[in-house]
C-alpha cells in the first residue's frame, strides 16, 4: 500500500513540477543545436576539397 502511495506522490509531484523533466530535454537539445550550428563546415569547404 505504502509503495503505491509513493508512486502516486511522485506522479503528483511530476505533474506539478514539469520543469524538472523538461529542463534536461531543453538543455540537451539546445546543446546539440549549438554544436550543430557551430560545427557547420566552412561554406567554402565542399568546393575546395580537391585542394587538399
Amino acid at each position: 500500500m505504502g509503495k503505491w502511495t509513493i508512486i502516486k506522490e511522485f506522479f503528483q509531484y511530476a505533474r506539478e513540477n514539469k520543469r524538472y523533466l523538461i529542463l534536461p530535454i531543453v538543455m540537451i537539445l539546445l546543446l546539440l543545436g549549438v554544436i550543430i550550428i557551430f560545427s557547420q563546415g566552412s561554406a567554402l569547404a565542399p568546393f575546395i576539397y580537391a585542394l587538399f
Binding site: Q12, Y13, Y20, I28, L32, I37, L44
Partner: protein, 644 residues
C-alpha cells in the same frame, strides 16, 4: 498533498534523470529502426567463395556535413583472414596520400605496394590506403581507432597540409572549435543517431546559403591566417596533440609508425594570398608588374620594385616570393630557395604546411621512436640546386607521377633501413624493373592532367572561376574526358582502351592497360586471363603460362585453370594439363549451373584427351561418364582418334 523536503529532492532528481534517459531511449529507438549511419570501416563480403573485408568508401562522410560532396576512400579489398606470409601497412593522411589527382596506380601507396612485392616475393605486402581528401590529424586519429580489425603491421602517415581548412580544422568552422578537447567531443557527439537526425532536420530548416560563389572576399579574408598568429600556433599545438593521440593508439596496436615530412611546391607556386597592411593592394597585379620588369631584364626596375615592397609590405609572402624569383634569375638558387620557403610560410591562405610543421614532425618522431621519413628532404635533393617546383608538382601540394614515385621510393627505403622490410632483389635491379613494368597508362595521366586543369580553373588559383571545357583529340583523351564527367566508369574506360589497342595491334599498350586493371583488381581472374590471351596472340606461350601460374593457386579460378590446362595441352605437357584441368573440374562440379556449357564441354574434351594420351584409361572412363551424366555431353570418337 504535501511532500516532505527529502522526498521533493529525490523526486526532482528522478525527474531530471527521466528527462536525460529520454535521450537514451530516443537514441535506442533510432538504432532499432536504423535511422542513422553506423559508419563501420569495413564491410564483410565474399568473392568467388572467399571472405574479404571491403573498406567502406563512405566512412569519411561522418566528418562532413554534406554527405553528397564528402570525399571518399578508395576501393580496397583485404582478405578477411591474414595469411602467415602477409604483411599489412596502413597509409593514412589527406589528398596526397590518397593520390589526387589520379584515380588508381599513380599513388604512392600503390607504388610502394608494387615495390615491396617485387622486392620480396616471399611475402604478400598489402598497402591499405585509408587516406582521403580534406581530412587532417583529427580524422586520421579517429580512423586509426577503427583499424585493428585489419591486423596491420605498420602505419604510414603523411599529413599536416590540412590542419587549417580540412574537416575539424581550426579555420574550417566557426570560432570556439579551435579547442582540441571540444573538437574531439564534437566528433564523439556526431556519432550519435540523435545528432545525425537533428542535423538532417536542421539542414532542411536552415539550408546552405548559395555557396556557388566561393569568392566571397569577406569569407576569404576571415580565413587568412598570419604566420605566428594565435590561431596558427594553436593549430600547430593541436596537430602535435593529435600526434600524441595517434601514438597512443599505435602503441596499443603494437605497430611501428613511419611519418613523412611534408613537401610542397615552393618554386612554381605563387603564394595564394599575402597579408598586406594596405588592403587595397592586389597581389596578382603586383606580381604582374614584377614579372613584366623581370622579363624585360630591367634590373634597376626590379630592384626598385623590391625596395618599394620592402618599405610598404615587408612581411608579405609576395615580397619573399619575388625575391626568390629574382635570386633564381641572378643564378643564385640557394638563396632563392630560402626565399621560396619563406614565401610559403608567410602565405596566409594555408593550403601548404609551413616549415615549422616539419620541425614538429621531426621532433615528435625523435622523441617517440617513430621513423621520420625524409620526403621533403628528398624532394629538395632531387630538385637541387633549385627548390621543388613544377618539376615534381602539379600545383601547390600534389605531386606528378615522378613525385609520387619519389615518395614511394623514400618510404620504401625507410622501411628497409629500419629493418622492418628486407628486399631479396638488389635495389638497383628492383628499381629499373619497377620503372619499366609498373603500369602507368596514358589514360590515367590524361585524366589526372584534366582533373588538375579543372581544379586550377577555380579559386584560389584564379580570382574568377573560369568555365572548364576540353575538346578531346584522340581516343585516350575521349575516355579520360568521359570518365572525368562521370559518363563512364574507370574499369569500363580502361577495358575499352584495352580493346581499342588490341584492334589497332598495339599490344604493348594493351598489356599496359590490362596490367593497370590487374593492379586495381588483384583478386580478379578476368584481367589475368585477358593478359594471357594477348600474350598467346603474340606467340609468347611461356610468358602467358608464367602469368597464369603465378596466381593459379591463390585465385583458384576454373577459367584460369582451363586456360592453363589448354596451354599445357598445346605444349604436349599432359600431366601438367591433367593437374590444371582437374582443378577446374573440381570447382565446376561444386556449382555446375554457374558455368557456360561451352566451357564445360571444352574442359571435359581436353581432360578426356589428356588422360587417354597418358594411358590413364580408368580415369578417362570416369571423366567420360561424368560428362555424360552430369552435363549430357557426348565426347565422341573423333576426340579419341585425335588423341591417339
Amino acid at each position: 498533498m504535501s511532500v516532505k523536503k527529502w522526498k521533493k529532492m529525490l523526486f526532482s532528481i528522478l525527474l531530471i534523470l527521466a528527462g536525460i534517459s529520454l535521450f537514451f531511449l530516443t537514441e535506442w529507438i533510432l538504432h532499432l529502426f536504423h535511422l542513422g549511419e553506423e559508419y563501420t570501416l569495413v564491410e564483410e563480403l565474399e568473392i568467388h567463395h572467399k571472405p574479404y573485408y571491403r573498406i567502406n568508401r563512405n566512412f569519411p562522410q561522418k566528418y562532413f556535413r554534406s554527405h553528397e560532396t564528402a570525399p571518399e576512400f578508395r576501393d580496397e579489398l583485404i582478405p578477411r583472414y591474414k595469411g602467415p606470409s602477409e604483411k599489412r601497412i596502413l597509409v593514412l593522411g589527406g589528398s596526397t596520400a590518397f593520390g589526387f589527382p589520379y584515380s588508381y596506380n599513380i599513388t604512392f601507396p600503390d607504388m610502394l605496394e608494387g615495390l615491396l612485392n617485387r622486392g620480396d616475393p616471399e611475402h604478400v605486402w598489402n598497402v591499405i590506403n585509408l587516406a582521403t581528401s580534406a581530412i587532417n590529424s583529427y580524422s586520421v586519429s579517429d580512423i586509426l581507432e577503427h583499424t585493428s580489425v585489419l591486423e596491420p603491421d605498420a602505419l604510414i602517415l603523411y599529413m599536416g597540409h590540412n590542419e587549417f581548412y580540412g574537416a575539424f580544422g581550426s579555420a574550417s568552422s566557426e570560432r570556439g572549435f579551435t579547442s582540441y578537447s571540444l573538437t574531439h567531443l564534437l566528433m564523439k557527439v556526431q556519432k550519435t543517431y540523435l545528432f545525425q537526425v537533428l542535423q538532417k532536420w536542421l539542414n532542411v530548416v536552415l539550408p546552405d546559403k548559395n555557396t556557388e560563389d566561393p569568392l566571397m572576399a569577406t569569407v576569404v579574408r576571415e580565413r587568412q591566417i598570419p604566420y605566428g598568429s594565435s590561431l596558427y600556433l594553436k593549430t600547430r599545438l593541436n596537430f602535435i596533440k593529435n600526434l600524441h593521440r595517434i601514438h597512443k593508439i599505435a602503441e596499443k596496436m603494437g605497430i611501428p609508425v613511419y611519418i613523412g615530412t611534408l613537401t610542397s611546391n615552393e618554386r612554381s607556386q605563387i603564394p595564394f594570398a599575402s597579408d598586406f597592411k594596405d588592403e587595397a593592394l592586389n597581389q596578382q597585379t603586383l606580381f604582374n608588374e614584377f614579372t613584366f620588369l623581370l622579363e624585360r631584364e630591367d634590373t634597376t626596375g626590379v630592384e626598385m620594385w623590391l625596395k618599394d615592397m620592402e618599405l610598404w609590405e615587408p612581411q608579405s609572402a609576395l615580397l619573399a616570393y619575388c625575391r626568390g624569383k629574382y635570386h633564381d634569375w641572378q643564378g643564385k638558387p640557394d638563396s632563392a630557395s630560402f626565399y621560396y620557403a619563406l614565401a610559403r610560410d608567410l602565405d596566409v591562405l594555408r593550403f601548404r604546411a609551413g616549415s615549422d610543421w616539419n620541425v614538429a614532425i621531426r621532433q615528435f618522431a625523435r622523441e617517440n621512436d617513430w621513423v621520420c621519413v625524409p620526403i621533403d628532404e628528398t624532394f629538395h635533393n632531387v630538385s637541387a640546386p633549385y627548390a621543388p617546383g613544377n618539376n615534381l608538382f602539379h600545383e601547390h601540394v600534389h605531386p606528378k607521377e615522378n613525385g609520387y614515385f619519389l615518395m614511394a621510393e623514400t618510404f620504401f627505403k625507410s622501411l628497409s633501413n629500419s629493418g622492418f622490410y628486407q628486399h631479396k632483389i638488389p635495389y638497383d635491379e628492383l628499381l629499373s624493373d619497377f620503372k619499366t613494368t609498373y603500369p602507368i597508362t596514358p589514360f590515367e595521366l590524361k585524366a589526372g592532367e584534366l582533373t588538375i586543369q579543372k581544379l586550377m580553373s577555380r579559386w584560389p588559383f584564379v580570382s574568377d572561376n573560369q568555365p572548364f571545357t576540353f575538346n578531346p583529340s584522340n581516343t585516350t583523351e575521349h575516355y579520360a574526358w568521359e570518365y572525368l564527367n562521370g559518363n563512364i566508369s574507370w574499369g569500363k574506360a580502361n577495358q575499352s582502351l584495352v580493346d581499342y589497342h588490341i584492334n589497332r595491334d598495339e599490344k604493348d599498350l594493351a598489356i599496359r592497360y590490362v596490367n593497370s586493371i590487374r593492379e586495381v583488381l588483384p583478386h580478379e581472374a578476368a584481367p589475368v586471363i585477358q593478359l594471357a590471351h594477348i600474350l598467346l596472340d603474340q606467340n609468347q606461350m611461356d610468358q602467358a603460362l608464367q602469368v597464369l601460374r603465378k596466381v593459379d593457386e591463390t585465385m583458384d579460378d576454373p577459367h584460369l585453370w582451363l586456360l592453363e590446362g589448354s596451354i599445357h595441352m598445346k605444349r604436349d605437357e599432359y600431366d601438367f594439363a591433367i593437374y590444371a584441368l582437374n582443378k577446374a573440374r573440381r570447382i565446376i562440379l561444386k556449382n555446375p549451373s554457374s558455368f557456360h556449357s561451352e566451357m564445360i564441354s571444352q574442359l571435359y574434351h581436353y581432360l578426356f584427351e589428356a588422360l587417354t594420351i597418358t594411358g590413364r584409361m580408368d580415369e578417362a572412363d570416369i571423366v567420360k561418364k561424368e560428362s555424360e551424366h552430369t552435363f549430357h555431353l557426348n565426347i565422341n570418337a573423333d576426340t579419341l582418334r585425335n588423341a591417339s
